[in-house]
Structure formats: C-alpha cells, structure tokens
C-alpha cells in the first residue's frame, strides 16, 4: 500500500546527538524530540558490585537503592512527595560495573527531576531507620528470588560459566551479605565510589541540547570528589575445561527452568554482530527461532523456550532458557543440545540470515521511537564506544555479516563439550 508521509526516517547520528563534557568529566548526551511534552533521563556513575567484597556482596546495589531514602536536603517522604505530586519518576539501580539511574518528567518538571537526581548522587544521608526498612524489603525480595525457578537457574548458570570470576556473583547479594551491611558501609562506599569521573547523563525529549547541558551544569557542574576510586580491573576469565551441570532444588513447584549455554563476546567485539544474528536464528526470530520451533511448536513442551545473547564491558552470556514440566527436563535439554549441535555444525542458511538481517534493520524505527529507546541507544554509544554514527552505520554492519562469520562465531562460543547446564525446581 502506498502512503503519504511527512515523517523522515531519522536514526540518531552525529548531526542530532549532542555530546558535551563538563569540566569535572561528566558527559552530557542529548537528542531533542518535541513530539510530546516530556523528557526521559538516563545515565550512570562508575560504582558497581566489582567493588563489593564477598562478605558484603550487594553493598553497591543496596547503596543505590538507599540513595533516595533521604538526602541532606530532603527526607524520604519529601523526595517522593516532590516526584509523585507531578507524576514524575526516578530510580537508581546497582549493576556490576555501574550504578545506573533513569527518570522521566513533564518538561516543566525537569529541573525538579535533576535536582533530585543530583541530591541523591551527591548528598545521600542513609538514615538508619530507612536503611533497616529497606533491608527488610530487600531480604523479602531475596526470599522470593529463592523461590523463583527461572531466577535461580540463571544464578546457578552464572556460577558455572563464570567460576572464579566476579561475574559469577549476584549483584544484589545474598541474605547473609545483606544482613552484614551497615549504614556506615554505605556512607563509606558512597564517599569513595561515587563521583563525576566517568559519569554519563542523557536527556531525550522536549528540550534543546543547549538547555540540556545548562540544566545538568546547574546541578552537577560543581560536583568534585578527589577521593573517587577507579573500579578494580576485571580479571581474565579462565576458560572452562569441560561442561558443568548444577541443579537448584526448590520444592512444590509445578514448572522447572533450564538455562544452558556458555560465555559470549563482549559488546564492542567484532564478533558481537555475527553472534547476535546467529542468536536470532537460533532462538529469537519469529516465534523464538529454531529453539522455539523444536521445543514449543513441534514438541509442545514449553510455553517459552528461547536463546539470548547479553553482552557488556566484559565477557557476555549466550544462553538458551526454557520453562518445562519437571518430568520433561531431560528431554528438553537433549532437544536443545541437538539444536545447538545442528547450529554449530551446519550454521545458518542464507535465507535464515537474510530474514534476521531484515529484522535487525527493519526494527530500528520501532526500537528508537520512544524517548526511552533513544536514551538507551545514546547510553550504549557512549558506554561501549560504538561511535556517534553507529545507528547510521548499523544497516551496513548487519548487511556485512556472512554465514561463514556466524558459524565461526557459534563454534568459538558454543562448544558442545563445554556447555554449562543449570536447572531449578522440583525434579
């Protein structure tokens, strides 16, 4: 069908992404969008669980969760009263390398959103009563996690593939480590882990680039922290000698979860795109790719069975996940194993690869339609050094991947002899 349209097919690029660096090192990224009267903010500081000891694992994440429990300027109820009264939202969450934040507001409330972001980052006070209340909430969250077959299979899988590496640990800690953390630990952590160096903040929405920089400068331009430490270097990951298997028993569950796979490439590796397209064929494209076809469509074994590739600063994960009746766990593992074998032996067909390529380029407008989608894209560009023209080059990056590159990458990462398999549930 023909159409009349006035909408340019515009992907973010060097001519409409604005990047500025404040004198204290904070990078400000912005892209205007005046279609709706709102602004999305996203960003991160270089404070993550890599700093955490095993005994106090979760300190970074707990600290992030506690930032808005009270600052030198406002108490907990005042902070949330300001936000909720205008329908704005703001949250912080701890990761392995970073503590990230995101928020949104109507454009007239952006100054408030930035004030609260800056206060939370710069002068949190960690009130004892609030910290203890939050601790109970986190402990309940961990108790629920311990009952969640999907999450527990994932945690066990991380322990298998990242044995001996910090990535084997859950960022949010364990009940024991969360009980061991004090408010003084948090205050100390905040004092040396939070600072402007390495911080990135992105504003996308009804705001010009100049306003964006001025607004960030106003609240964060004078932030200094001479004590700010660099994150510990990421150790090398020792390759597994052979595949490993672990089961987490959880009683009384109707469904068991399976996670199996291996480590994957880093986000900025040249192998990322062939792995990503290969992963699409294996377990994403259409109704969960080949994995979905064999496990769900042809065998009727599962409601969900798919593969995923997650990639970041360090080694990533390439895994297949499925939720099945406990009785069908072994059968499903064998089906998945044989699909992976097929994948690494024969690779992908030209047609399959073309389909996934069309999907990768065709979905860009959809993934970048919202302010939040664009903010996420800008963060990735900065974080992984992808280049301001990444989304303009993207179609060519996708187009240039060959079936040979896909099979080569698949063979490198998905070695059948070294697959790790984690299960959780009532077997």
């Amino acid at each position: 069908m023909s159409r009349l349209t006035s909408v340019p097919h515009s992907l973010p690029g060097p001519d409409d992404i604005h990047r500025a660096e404040l004198s204290n090192g904070i990078v400000v990224l912005s892209r205007p969008n005046h279609n709706s009267p709102s602004v999305v903010m996203a960003g991160y500081v270089l404070a993550g669980s890599l700093f955490d000891s095993d005994e106090k694992l979760g300190l970074s994440d707990f600290t992030a969760s506690a930032l808005m429990r009270g600052t030198a300027k406002r108490d907990f109820q005042q902070i949330y009263d300001s936000l909720e009264a205008v329908g704005a939202g703001l949250g912080f969450s701890g990761g392995t390398h970073t503590t990230s934040f995101s928020g949104r507001a109507l454009v007239e409330d952006l100054p408030l959103l930035l004030d609260l972001t800056a206060e939370s980052l710069r002068c949190p006070v960690f009130p004892t009563e609030q910290v203890d209340r939050l601790r109970s909430q986190i402990l309940t969250g961990l108790a629920l996690r311990a009952q969640d077959t999907s999450e527990m299979a994932s945690l066990a899988f991380d322990e298998l593939v990242f044995a001996g590496h910090p990535y084997s640990r859950p960022d949010d800690g364990t009940p024991e480590s969360i009980r061991a953390i004090t408010r003084e630990d948090m205050a100390a952590f905040h004092a040396w882990a939070y600072g402007p160096r390495g911080m990135v903040i992105t504003l996308v929405g009804a705001i010009t680039p100049a306003e964006a920089v001025a607004q960030v400068e106003r609240v964060l331009g004078d932030w200094q922290n001479p004590q700010q430490l660099d994150l510990p270097a990421l150790p090398e990951l020792a390759p597994l000698a052979r595949g490993r298997r672990r089961h987490v028993p959880i009683s009384g569950k109707s469904q068991a979860d399976i996670v199996m796979g291996a480590v994957g490439p880093t986000r900025n590796s040249p192998e990322y795109m062939p792995a990503s397209l290969g992963n699409s064929v294996l377990g994403v494209f259409g109704m969960m790719g080949r994995i979905g076809d064999v496990v769900r469509e042809r065998s009727g074994l599962a409601y969900y069975a798919y593969s995923s590739l997650s990639a970041g600063i360090g080694p990533g994960i390439w895994e297949v996940s499925a939720g099945v009746n406990p009785f069908n766990v072994e059968k499903t593992i064998e089906l998945i194993r044989s699909e992976i074998q097929q994948f690494v032996t024969h690779g992908v067909t030209e047609q399959e690869l073309e389909d996934s390529k069309a999907n990768f380029t065709g979905r860009l407008p959809l993934s970048l339609e919202s302010n939040a989608g664009v903010a996420g894209a800008l963060i990735s560009i900065e974080r992984y050094g992808l280049g301001m023209d990444y989304y303009r080059r993207y179609p060519a990056l996708v187009r240039n991947v060959t079936p040979a590159a896909v099979i080569e990458t698949a063979r490198k990462y998905l070695d059948l002899e070294k697959l790790s398999i984690a299960t959780a549930g009532s077997l």
Partner: protein
C-alpha cells in the same frame, strides 16, 4: 477530539483511525468482544486457547510463515486475552502495515484449527499454566476470584482450570472461534503514520468481504448477587513470604462511580494507568497505604488494582507481608486506612494530585504509537472511545464528596474477600 475517524462497515466491523506523524510507524489493533467471561464451567480457558490457535495459521498464511513475515519486516506483534476481550496487534514500519491488515482480515474467518496443532498447543498452554502455578500470587488470585463470584464467569482465571485444559476439544475451540470472531463483534483501531482516506479504502477492500455473522454472538449475562458478607480464603504453598489480597466488589467501567473510585485508588495505593497497555512510571511511596503499611513496617509492599471491566469486577489491594509481622497486623493497619476514607472526606489537594498524575501518564504514553493505537480500541470493549477521550475530564470533575460516597458504597467489609497466601517453608517434594 476530531482527529479520530470512526466508521462502521456494512458487515458491522467498527473502524477507528488516528493519524500520528511522529515516527514512520503504524500500529494496528483488532479487538474482539470475547474473553473468559464468555466461558461456561468445564470450558474455562477456551478464549485464551483460541487466541493461541490464531497464531497457527490459515490456508493463505501458514503458521510457520506468520511470525517470520512480521519479524522480517521489523515489526512486533502479540495478542492478549482478558476476562472481557481478546486483542491482537501488529506494529510495523508504516510502509509495511498492509501485511497486518491482510493477516488480520484473513484470520478473522479462515484459521485452520488443525487437530494436530490443537494437541500440540494443549501441552503448551498446560505448561503456561504450570509456570503461572509457580507464582504464589497466581494461586491466591485464583482462589480469590473463585470466592468472590458464585455465579458470574469472572470466577475463573483467563488461562482456565487444568482439568478443562485437558478436556477441551478441537470442536469446542472452533465453535468458540466461529461464534465470536465475526466483523460485527470486532473493532479495528489503527494509529500512526497513515493517510486516513487511503487506509479506509484498503480496509474496505480487505474487510468488507468478510461475511457478517448470522446472529449476534451470545455473551453470558449472569447477574452476580450482591456480596453478602466478608469472605476469607487461605492458600498454602511453598516459600517463606506471606501475601494478602483484599478484593472489594467494584462497579462496572461504564458506571460513573468508576471515576471517583479511580481517584480513591490513586490516593490509597498510588496512580494506575487507565489503559490496558503500559505502566505509569510513577511510584506510590506517598500514598496513604504505603505510608501506613510499608513505612510502618507491616508490609514490604502494597499496591492496588482497579481493572475497568464490562461487569462489576474487583478492586484489589495486594500486600507482601513484612517477615516479622502477622497477617492480622497488616489487615488491621489496612482497615484503619479504609475506615478513614469511609468516615472523612479526603482533601481537595489529594484529588488534584491524582488528576495531575493521570495527565502525566497520558503524556508519557503518547510518546509511543503502539500505546496510542491500544488506547483507541480499548475502551470500545466496555464503553466507547469517548470513555477514554473524556477520562481526564471525568477525573477532574471528581469532588472530595464523590470520593467519600464511593468509599462508603464500595469499600464496606461485607463487600470484600480477604485472601492470604500462607507459606509452608518445611514442605518437601511429593
């Protein structure tokens, strides 16, 4: 708002179109007036299973090609079955939307319901239900609905009972499909980078030939008796966390009391998105219940849910108990707050705040074409599109006296079911 075009084709299909030229995308939603409320005992889960079968293909669009066709064009699609309705959508680059139009016109009448596919999908849906059963709040919610409705089909979950999933036949499914998937029972709502005139021409080409139904499909009209007193249910299961749900019989969406009740919900438990799709992005930490329950360490979380439905359904408050408290302490703290709204008018400030929050939710939602298209057809399922258009005005007209009146009408203890999920930490397998 004059920017929405509304047309009804001769076969009864209602069409709503809205041009939004902010991104080169179009989102098309096809809504059917059928859901789990149209299921008889022994046939629960029928509507949801029919929705699954709609992805299995027609002679013209074989199932294996459908997903691939959408994905190849860079689109996304999905479907939802609810107690009152079933909806299908595709969001695609604007120049590819014809695929969605052709596909939905075709599967309105021509889905195959191949017996082998029915059998394969039976175990998929049973697996979906097993996944649900892993969740304490699913188990509790199922008991709560069963206790809240003695006659009305809102007494079961959309996914259906396991015994029914074992027993339903291919013919049951096909009969349900042919009864309800007819143009006069559907609303096609499309928003995005479209030209209204061209789009209407294409819609007529594709949808006018779909034969109208011989008779209007039967919808189950069961009047549920007024609640006769507080009911309490308990569910035991694995874990170490206690959940409490308190569900009050609510008014139907088309009843004017829904607006003051939405304001009351907002100030009790935080803002909600009135649409079927998309969240709020707004926390609820200054709501009355959060302050009284979470800040006082009776619970670790609290939220409310007021779904808008054809028949009176439930306003449900869900609490996750603090590990060092018992359920009665949490319930007593909740009741103190309910008593407050039963006995005192709320302040105008609180009402104003609820309205500002709703305005923000609408503004955030308007960033996204899929969301806007969803809004277009959604309220047709229980009222008309005007319900949605007038939503903010209706909220803005709510007074503190209205809030007091609906509190006294709907939040009385005899109108509620209290459900508790009691963890059995010692439980072992089998």
């Amino acid at each position: 708002m004059s920017d929405v075009t509304r047309v009804t084709l001769e076969n009864g299909l209602k069409v709503l179109l809205k041009e939004i030229h902010t991104a080169p995308l179009i989102s098309a939603w096809l809504w059917y007036r059928v859901g789990s409320k149209d299921e008889k005992p022994g046939q629960t889960g029928l509507s949801h299973w029919v929705e699954h079968m709609q992805f299995k293909g027609t002679p013209h669009f074989p199932g294996s090609l459908l997903d691939k066709a959408i994905a190849r064009e860079g689109g996304t699609w999905n479907a939802f079955t609810y107690i009152d309705w079933t909806a299908y959508y595709e969001t695609l680059p604007a120049d590819k939307i014809d695929l969605s139009l052709r596909l939905e016109a075709d599967r309105m009448a021509n889905s195959a319901f191949d017996p082998a596919e029915v059998e394969s999908e039976r175990t998929v849906i049973m697996s979906e239900r097993e996944g649900d059963e892993n969740e304490p709040l699913f188990l509790l919610g199922e008991e709560l609905q069963r206790a809240a409705f003695s006659e009305h089909p809102y007494n079961h979950q959309v996914i259906g009972f396991m015994d029914d999933l074992r027993a339903i036949t291919r013919d049951d499914l096909y009969r349900h499909y042919r009864s309800y998937y007819v143009p006069g029972n559907a609303v096609l709502a499309i928003a995005g980078d479209l030209d209204t005139g061209q789009m209407l021409t294409r819609i007529r080409e594709l949808y006018a030939p779909v034969a109208p139904a011989p008779a209007a499909p039967p919808r189950i009209e069961t009047a549920e008796p007024e609640p006769g007193g507080e009911v309490r249910v308990e569910v035991a299961g694995p874990g170490e966390t206690t959940f409490i749900q308190v569900a009050y019989r609510a008014p139907a969406a088309a009843h004017p009391d829904i607006f003051p009740l939405a304001v009351l919900d907002s100030l009790l438990s935080g803002p909600s998105n009135p649409g079927a799709y998309g969240g709020t992005g707004i926390s609820n930490k200054t709501s009355r219940l959060y302050r009284a329950l979470v800040e006082k360490e009776r619970t670790v979380s609290v939220y409310g849910s007021l779904p808008v439905t054809i028949d009176p359904f439930l306003y449900t408050i869900t609490m996750t108990l603090h590990p060092e408290r018992n359920p009665e302490e949490a319930l007593a703290a909740l009741d103190e707050q309910i008593d407050r709204v039963l006995q005192h008018t709320v302040s105008q400030d609180e009402v104003t705040r609820a309205i500002k929050q709703a305005r923000a939710i609408f503004a955030f939602g308007s960033e996204n074409i899929t969301n806007q298209a969803a809004w277009l057809g959604y309220s047709e399922m229980f009222a008309t599109y005007d319900w949605f258009l007038n939503y903010l005005d209706n909220l803005a007209a709510v007074t503190p006296q209205d809030v007091l009146r609906v509190a006294q009408r709907y939040l009385r203890p005899e109108r509620r079911v209290v459900g508790t999920y009691l963890p059995q930490p010692g439980e072992v397998d089998e």
